[in-house]
């Protein structure tokens, strides 16, 4: 049993490990100097000494499509009307950017333009363009990547190695659907917090010698999920979910007597995972639907309960309960699915 649980955990870690390098490939676009790491930038930097590439990219804003209605290059964006006070307003500095000198007291910088302007000083990796041209989505607020509503659909594999469960399953792995909604109301920096009510179901049937058996589990929990958005496309999360499981075990013996046990048990789940955006606006400042995929793994501790199957039918008469020992549904698990956020 311990081996199977270890195997499950290892599997979860392997999956996370297998996913990380691919993610890191994208992450490095942002966190390292672009000419050294990106293919597109390297082409642009050919024959150019290190450091010049950045100037070249910045010097070629035309390479970045401009959104309709955007002011032309060289023109002071959103020049304030003359009637307005010539005050300098600073809004919150974009994450990862240095404060820059203000062009002049007569120029008022709005936050969004400042972000765009700052983004021009940074390399924008291919595919990272926001709806606003030339904006590095990692340089703008992740607001709606972090604070949002979400709905998830996926599946979960549990490795149930309890000897009592063996009566109901040929193999330790039990697969079932999972549905989760998320409310992420709060964020700070790259972190955010979400509340994730969750339902999942798993069912398995087998033959225990001459008896037909079936075990179904409905798991309900409320998760507290901490997310770290290290990239506009990806975030990692840790979730702790207290909840309950209602398990229904049934056995039909060779004579046709059906016995059933249904009970509730407390459970506490710890899960770590990674989510990647598949579709949707990469600019976190903009609202909209976004589709993400997630991969996760963890351990679900469930309080053990005595499995006592009692007759559900009228024949045979006066069936004595069948006691199969403690039902332990604790197990490592892994899962994957899709998440739609708004």
């Amino acid at each position: 049993m311990r081996q199977n649980q270890t195997l499950g955990l290892l599997t979860s870690l392997m999956l996370l490990g297998a996913t990380l390098p691919a993610i890191a490939q994208n992450v490095v676009h942002v966190t390292s100097d672009a000419p050294k790491t990106t293919e597109g930038a390297a082409k642009k930097a050919e024959g150019t000494p290190p450091g010049a590439a950045r100037a070249e990219v910045v010097a070629e804003p035309a390479a970045v499509p401009r959104a309709a209605g955007a002011p032309p290059d060289g023109e002071a964006p959103n020049t304030p009307p003359a009637s307005e006070p010539a005050a300098v307003e600073f809004e919150e500095a974009p994450i990862g950017t240095k404060p820059e000198p203000v062009a002049g007291p007569q120029v008022r910088w709005l936050a969004s333009e400042r972000k765009h302007e700052a983004a021009r000083d940074r390399y924008v990796a291919p595919g990272d363009e926001t709806d606003a041209p030339g904006v590095d989505p990692n340089a703008v607020h992740f607001t709606h990547h972090q604070v949002n509503l979400s709905a998830q659909l996926g599946f979960q594999v549990n490795w149930l190695a309890s000897s009592t469960v063996d009566a109901f399953a040929d193999k330790d792995a039990v697969v079932g659907p999972l549905a989760r909604i998320g409310i992420a109301p709060w964020a700070t920096g790259r972190f955010s917090l979400a509340f994730t009510p969750e339902w999942s179901f798993a069912s398995t049937s087998a033959r225990a010698r001459s008896s037909a058996t079936r075990l179904g589990m409905h798991r309900l929990s409320l998760g507290f999920e901490g997310r770290y958005h290290f990239h506009h496309r990806y975030h990692a999360y840790l979730r702790v979910s207290p909840g309950a499981v209602v398990a229904r075990a049934s056995l039909t013996d060779a004579a046709g007597a059906e016995l059933v046990d249904e009970n509730w048990a407390f459970r506490l789940d710890g899960t770590a995972g990674l989510a990647a955006r598949l579709a949707g606006n990469s600019n976190g400042t903009q609202t909209g639907f976004r589709l993400l995929a997630y991969v996760e793994g963890g351990f679900d501790w469930t309080a053990s309960s005595e499995l006592r199957l009692e007759a559900s039918g009228s024949r045979p008469a006066r069936v004595s309960p069948l006691e199969l020992g403690p039902l332990d549904l604790s197990s490592p698990h892994a899962g994957a699915g899709l998440m739609l956020t708004y």
Binding site: M1, N4, L7, G8, T11, M14, L15, A18, T19, A22, I23, N26, G40, P126, G127, D128, E129, V157, W159, A161, S163, D166, A167, A169, D170, K171, D172, A173, V175, A206, R207, A208, R209, S210, S211, R233, L251, D253, A254, A255, G256, A257, L259, A276, R277, L278, A279, S282, A293, V295, R315, P316, A317, R318, V319, S320, L322, A334, G335, A336
Partner: protein
């Protein structure tokens, strides 16, 4: 376009991860104990004093079913050795013997050896006593007095068919005695234990009698290592030794140390061999074996030593001539008694009848006909025709069942495929018919002698018959029982266990003293007991 490519890459990663997850989840995971996959197949089902033992062939274990109370059935599993050869209860149902051949071939020191396990018959169960054997054996002979067990009929690659392994149940730590009897071309077919027989020198002792297909060997159980005595048997016209088929013994006069005898019935022969444990002819012997051949006037189907008003006699039933022959073992003179029927079987019922003649036995006779008879051996001399009192039944008797105390004066007469069976009261010499709805019912007499159960395997209706007044109680249970046993409960009561063994193992529990279909309890899926 590039954004789409990036999203495609993310999608690809997610897809690969998902497929990997599903693949690992379904293939790399562990599977359960194979015991769960073993379909239940019941081997021998043996009724014991306080439990029922069910041989779970698939998992090589014995499931003991006990009834701690009127509403409770407990089951406990004990592993038995590999390749079980014999599962048998002792005559008094107090013990269960399981002989196994062990792992074969044995290649590691830890590989299991052939062994005999002796279990208590309950209702209090305990770990079995285990006797290890050197070689696998295929048959067991049980001492009716509970002291000895003999294993024989070896089944190894090279076997010694004349080897007998004797185990002393009173001394489990004693090393098994392996003994090879001298062979004159035969090997043991059956082993039987005598009661204590007096011999001219030394204390009285018991013997293990080995019957081969051509001779008889006597093994002195007071010293099993002592050389056995082998007795050759008469040959037929072609010079082939006659095959022994039945051996009986009698200690004779308790005051006479030299009149213990054995008699051997032979296949298809009118001759009966009388063996006498007489004065020894050698200094190192306690006795010698005297040898006589007696012609009983036809091929006998049963022999036994009986006491008549004229003394000890060897009675031989000769159904082909509808008579019995009484042989004086001292003089070998024979006296013929006309029985008036072709009786082929007999059992002594002297202690059970109410008007047993003084100084003589009473035997119950039955055979292939529809008649049974009381044979009073206290009035044979001079008036043999008055000695037989026969009664006709409407069934052809195939079995006579004993009833334990306190109703040992009752016998149950069972016919082959009959819809009637009889309870015979030996005290009043009356028989009472009991009808069944259809043929094929089996009769199980309770261990406390107070009732019998009549059931047909696979039929939900069966009956308990109270023997004190022959009151039958119809019972209907579901599922249909395969067998019914009556065992002692731990709380002192009696339990009726209607056991269903087809497919799975389940039990319907009844209160044997007050059986009622409306108060039964059903215990399902007992084959899952103690599987981890």
């Amino acid at each position: 376009m590039k954004d789409e490519m990036n999203q495609f890459r993310s999608l690809r990663i997610a897809t690969i991860s998902t497929l990997t997850l599903v693949g690992l989840g379904l293939t790399a995971c562990g599977s359960r104990n194979d015991d769960w996959n073993s379909y239940f197949e019941a081997g021998e089902v043996v009724g014991l004093d306080g439990s029922v033992a069910v041989f779970d062939r698939g998992l090589e274990r014995i499931l003991f079913l006990t009834a701690p109370s009127s509403k409770q059935v407990a089951s406990r599993a004990f592993s038995v050795g590999h390749d079980v050869q014999v599962v048998r209860a002792s005559k008094d149902r107090s013990s269960l013997f399981v002989l196994s051949a062990g792992e074969w071939p044995r290649t590691e020191p830890d590989d299991e050896k052939p062994r005999l396990q002796v279990f208590s018959g309950g209702p209090k169960l305990a770990e079995p006593t285990v006797y290890e054997l050197d070689d696998p054996m295929g048959a067991l002979a049980l001492d009716p007095e509970g002291r000895w067990v003999a294993a024989f009929a070896g089944s190894a690659t090279v076997t010694n068919p004349n080897e007998i392994v004797l185990l002393d149940l009173q001394d489990p730590k004693a090393k098994p005695v392996s003994k090879t009897i001298r062979s004159f071309g035969g090997s043991p077919v059956e082993l039987s234990f005598t009661s204590e027989l007096a011999v001219p020198r030394g204390p009285a002792r018991r013997f293990l009698v080995a019957r081969t297909d051509r001779d008889v060997a006597l093994i002195d159980l007071s010293d099993p290592n002592r050389e056995e005595i082998t007795v050759g048997l008469p040959k037929d016209e072609q010079g082939i030794p006659r095959v022994p088929v039945q051996i009986v013994h009698d200690d004779g006069d308790p005051d006479d140390k030299s009149d213990a005898r054995l008699a051997v019935r032979l296949v298809d022969s009118a001759d009966v061999v009388l063996l006498e444990l007489a004065e020894p002819t050698a200094a190192d012997r306690d006795f010698s074996v005297g040898y006589n051949i007696v012609d009983v006037g036809g091929v006998p189907t049963a022999i036994d030593f009986v006491r008549t008003d004229g003394g000890l006699r060897l009675a031989a039933l000769v159904p082909s001539r509808q008579r019995a022959t009484l042989v004086n073992p001292e003089t070998t003179l024979a006296e013929v008694v006309d029985l008036g029927g072709n009786f082929s079987s007999m059992t002594r019922i002297t202690n059970a009848v109410g008007d047993a003649p003084e100084g003589g036995d009473v035997a119950l006779l039955w055979g292939e006909g529809k008649t049974f008879a009381f044979w009073s051996l206290g009035s044979t001399s001079g008036t043999p025709y008055r000695a037989v009192d026969s009664t006709e039944l409407d069934i052809q008797l195939s079995q006579v069942l004993d009833v334990p105390a306190p109703n040992e004066h009752l016998k149950v007469l069972v016919g082959e495929s009959a819809t009637t069976f009889y309870v015979l009261n030996l005290e009043r010499r009356e028989s009472f018919p009991l009808m069944t709805r259809e043929a094929g019912y089996r009769i199980e007499v309770s261990g406390d002698g107070n009732r019998l159960w009549a059931y047909a395997p696979g039929n939900p209706s069966f009956s308990a018959v109270r023997l004190s007044d022959l009151h039958p109680t119809q019972l209907d249970v579901y599922p249909e029982p395969s067998v019914v046993f009556d065992v002692a409960r731990l709380d002192g009561g009696r339990a009726g266990l209607a056991i269903q063994t087809s497919g799975g193992l389940s039990v319907t529990l009844l209160d044997a003293n007050d059986p009622d279909s409306a108060t039964t309890r059903y215990f399902p899926a007992l084959e899952l007991e103690e599987i981890q």
